[in-house]
Subunit: 294 residues, 2 copies
DNA sequence: ACACGTTACGGCAACCGTAAGGATT
DNA sequence: AATCCTTACGGTTGCCGTAACGTGT
């Protein structure tokens, strides 16, 4: 059976680019790291690292092994952390992590006496990390039901159409769906389910809806709309600032109350004293949660 | 650093329900397993197993640790297997694994001189296993792009409406979308993207489409339709048998050629001699693949 | 000369198996 | 008595650190 200490040393070498630095990071002498790498290489029957005097670099085989090493190291770290009841890791999709989460975190952290680490990423990425045990609690914009997890609806966030101040729609109170019929919307982060939501909410009236440019982030979308490159639909809280400064107009839809459900999801541990679940419930209490699936 | 041998012993105890059987499985003496479990328990500062004379059972904390243990054990096994260039694991969503894959596997296995293990599961489950490194190649019905992976379109499978022989539509040559307008379809496996595909393909005409009963498998859907409980839409190759025996009618849509793209996905190893990639390409060659994403 | 990784070697810890010891049914 | 896990103990392994040794810049 492989030795995790060897894997940790390998991972450290891969990250630091040298045996000496790796030894320091894992708290061993440098020859010990040499031994670890040799042992791994014998075990896998493959050379993993090209030793050069100006830094060590992974061989192709080493690069192939790297994701395995990372999973092994991170999983063992997380397993240990789970029982120490401290330092839980919260993952959030970009929109939530940037615009909504910060104001809740401090209260929950203090109420529970927990240290929090935050990871912000794309929505599917966060879902995967939850599955991989790399994060304990996920705050996400879209959740496909998976066995072994609990997900609850956290908030219903209003979505609004955003246009620049000079736009023909800028002074409307609301926007009827018919206006959107042939509009082209600037796209933000992929995989957040906004497209799905729109089609579901507008029904047949969404047929002509198109999304131009995938800009990758809501920040980018806001800047693009400010610059007059187009219009978009975003979560209301993402544009509160710009709206109050008059840089953007945020206008609700007229006939359909367009709301996106945000979810808190965590692994359904049978552990009674489950810190992830406690944190999740604390978050939910500050957002009037509604149970979706156990 | 935790010892993987201890984790393997724990996992074996969890699966076999006893220290003796676990010892036999991992090839150690029984006291060695006792030591392993004690070491783990000391390391995690938690009791993991309730020792009873009539079998050992996991404590709640043990059950909480179990998924971590499984990931650690399976990942190390997979890492080792990767370098042995043998025995690659293919995951397939149920429909593909049952109706399409078998006829291709033997040829690919022989052409490459590889042993194959097959895992069949729900579509999201297979995608997760690919991410977790539990499988090497995934044959799936829906793929959300993830960094670090390669996915290619493998086949375009025709979808057909299935109705029982006595149904009013049984003798139609094709079914116009308008007929489906307010139909209720029996649902099969969740998360395969058929619903999405339908809405995308039928556009606004899908507005009234409803799915009743989630039956969980295509086999169940077929039996339910045979029994006259309703109609459904399935992959043509899933009902070839029933169609030729006259137990079901399979009827294409009239105005939209309804096709589902099936994908082969694998981890984008930089390893030159990557057996998973070789196998994937072999499969693609037998299905006229079209590149989607690198 | 310096920085990096390797080799050599010795002490010490830890692991495993055998054998004997409770505890429960 | 039978089964299951634990304890006790000794031999062996192998891991780690110190120190000395190549090697390339």
């Amino acid at each position: 059976m492989i030795d995790l200490a060897c894997v940790a040393s390998f991972f450290a070498v891969a990250e630091t680019g040298g045996f000496r630095a790796a030894a320091q990071r894992v708290g061993l002498s440098q020859p010990a790291v040499t031994q670890h790498i040799r042992k791994l290489e014998r075990w896998l029957r493959a050379e993993l690292i090209d030793r050069g005097n100006a830094g060590s670099v992974l061989t192709p085989q080493g690069r192939a092994f790297l994701p395995y090493a990372e999973i092994l190291v991170r999983t063992s770290e997380r397993a240990q952390a789970m029982f120490e009841k401290k330092n839980i890791v919260v993952g959030a999709s970009s929109n939530i992590g940037i615009y909504l989460l910060p104001k809740h975190l401090k209260a929950c952290s203090e109420a529970l006496g927990l240290e929090l680490d935050i990871v912000i990423g794309a929505n599917p990425d966060i879902a995967d990390r939850l599955q991989n045990l790399a994060i304990d609690v996920a705050c996400i914009e879209w959740w496909d039901e998976r066995p072994g997890f609990v997900a609850q609806c956290w908030k219903q966030e209003r979505l609004v159409v955003i246009v620049p101040p000079g736009h023909p729609w800028a002074d409307r109170e609301s926007i009827p769906a018919a206006l959107l019929q042939n509009a082209t919307l600037l796209g933000g982060e992929a995989g957040t389910g906004t497209g799905r939501l729109l089609r579901q909410c507008l029904g047949e009236r969404a047929a002509g809806l198109r999304t131009g440019m995938q800009l990758g982030s809501t920040e980018a979308v806001k800047r693009a709309v400010e610059a007059g490159l187009g219009i978009s639909i975003v979560m209301a809280s993402a544009v509160a600032d710009e709206q109050s400064h008059g840089r953007l107009r945020a206008i609700p839809l007229a006939d359909a109350p367009l709301e996106k459900s945000l979810y808190i999801a965590w692994r359904d541990h049978p552990l009674h004293e489950n810190p992830a679940a406690r944190f999740a419930r604390c978050l939910l209490d500050s957002g009037a949660g509604r149970r979706v699936r156990q």
